[in-house]
Each structure stands twice: as structure tokens, then as C-alpha cells.
């Protein structure tokens, strides 16, 4: 199985599961991976935009399809979550917010703010009548 005898990540058995700061940590990796895949869709979009109206129509048709919308909602939330949690991590890299209470509060703040921002972005999209 492994090349080494030392304990290897993920050390799931040593943590109490489903605390806010554990969930944000896992979600940071999950959303980062999802965004990496989403980046490939952006490459397609740029290539289509460069390729002409027909190519771009094919791209927007996919983006506007039910599957496309589901993916876009997922990616927009992933981006906003990874962005909020990333800022939180940068602040922690500065040595701030390491009290357990602060840790838990900032995790909840990230979850709530990223969800609100996602709703705001899609409210912008829908009120402009783009997705119908």
C-alpha cells in the first residue's frame, strides 16, 4: 500500500468530525479541486470567444443548459467560498484568529458570507434576465 511506515494523511480517526472549522478545511480542498476543473471550462470559453460567434454559441448553449447551470452555480459558490476562506487563511498566516472561539466563528462567517455572495451574484444574473 505505501512506501513508508509513518502515519500518513488523512488522519481522520484523530479528529472529532463535523465541526465548522473541520468542514471549512475539507471544503477548501474540495472547492479548490472543483475550481481547477472549472478553469478548464474557462479555457474553453476563451477559445470559443476567440474562435467566432458559432463556437461561442456552442459554449453558451452548454453553459445555459440544465447541467451547465448546475455546474455554474456550483463553481460560483466554490469560487466565493474558496475566496472567503482563502482570505481567512491569509489572515491566519499573519498569526491572527487562532483562538478556538475565533476559529469556529470565522469558519461560520466564511460559510454564511460565501452563501450570501453566491445568492447576490445569481440575483444579479437573474434580474438581468440572462438565464431564462
Amino acid at each position: 500500500m505505501t512506501d513508508t511506515q509513518r502515519p500518513l494523511s488523512p488522519h481522520l480517526s484523530v479528529y472529532k468530525m463535523w465541526q465548522a472549522h473541520l468542514v471549512t478545511s475539507i471544503l477548501h480542498r474540495a472547492t479548490g479541486t472543483a475550481l481547477s476543473v472549472g478553469l478548464l471550462l474557462m479555457v474553453w470559453g476563451l477559445l470559443a470567444l476567440a474562435g467566432g460567434a458559432e463556437h461561442f454559441a456552442r459554449f453558451t448553449a452548454f453553459a445555459g443548459s440544465p447541467i451547465g447551470i448546475i455546474l455554474l452555480v456550483g463553481w460560483s459558490w466554490s469560487l466565493l467560498f474558496h475566496l472567503c476562506n482563502g482570505v481567512r487563511h491569509l489572515i491566519e498566516d499573519g498569526g491572527y484568529g487562532y483562538q478556538i472561539v475565533q476559529f469556529r466563528r470565522s469558519s461560520w462567517a466564511v460559510i454564511i458570507v460565501s452563501a450570501l455572495l453566491t445568492v447576490a451574484v445569481w440575483a444579479c444574473v437573474l434580474t438581468r434576465g440572462v438565464v431564462a
Binding site: 479548490g32 481547477s36 477559445l47 470567444l49 476567440a50 491569509l90
Partner: protein
């Protein structure tokens, strides 16, 4: 007064600053620098995409072709792929414990990222230069 030296590390080792893994903080720091860049670039991208959605193909093309937008699009794509490679590398190193699979995945990720970034840059240049 102590019989023991205070510092066991070789001065050269300290000066090189590469630590026991021999990589130093390059990976860690690059991830932070790209993260800070992407905080700004992502917010800008969201606003650009929302503006693009309002119009048709010509509007989208014109918006992407504007010099500042083209520059920032390239910056976003390059910083994103760079950040993605660094992040995915950590995930693969943490969870893939069979050496050949780990190395193969890391290489595949880098190849795809470089190709994706190059293709995006070419696309943005074609849009901006009207080729």
C-alpha cells in the same frame, strides 16, 4: 557557560534556508502570493462575467478585447493555473500514497495546467489583437 552548543545546525544549512525537505518555503510562499493576486483578480472576473452576460457575442468579444481586460484576463488565467498546480500538488501528495501514481498525477496536472494556460493566453491575444 553551557557545555552544549546553542545551535546544532550548520551555518551553511541555515544560510541556504531550505530546511529538511530541501524545498524551503518557495512552494508555500508562491501559493500565498498567487492567492493575494487572485483575491483581486477573482472579484474583477466576477464583475466582468456579469457584464459579459448582459450582451451578445459582439459585446463579450469587445469587452475581452479591451487592453486592461485582456491583460487582467491573462493575469487571472496564469495566476489561477499556477495556484491550482500548487494546491492540487499538496492534495495529491497527501492522499496518493503509491509513488508512481503520485508522480504520474503530479506530472499530468502540470502538463494540463501549462497547456490550459498557454491556450488561454493565445485565445486572449487573438481576441485582443483581432486575429
Amino acid at each position: 557557560m553551557s557545555a552544549y552548543p546553542k545551535e546544532y545546525r550548520d551555518p551553511l544549512k541555515k544560510a541556504r534556508g531550505l530546511g529538511s525537505a530541501q524545498h524551503g518555503v518557495g512552494h508555500w510562499w508562491a501559493q500565498r502570493v498567487t492567492a493575494v493576486a487572485l483575491v483581486i483578480l477573482s472579484l474583477w472576473l466576477v464583475s466582468l462575467v456579469l457584464r459579459v452576460l448582459r450582451g451578445d457575442y459582439a459585446t463579450a468579444h469587445d469587452l475581452a478585447a479591451r487592453p486592461w481586460n485582456a491583460v487582467l484576463l491573462i493575469a487571472f488565467v496564469v495566476a489561477s493555473f499556477w495556484h491550482a498546480v500548487l494546491g492540487l500538488q499538496v492534495i495529491v501528495e497527501d492522499y496518493v500514497h503509491v509513488r508512481w501514481k503520485e508522480v504520474a498525477l503530479l506530472m499530468a496536472i502540470k502538463f494540463i495546467a501549462v497547456l490550459g494556460a498557454l491556450a488561454s493566453v493565445l485565445a486572449v491575444l487573438r481576441i485582443a489583437l483581432g486575429a
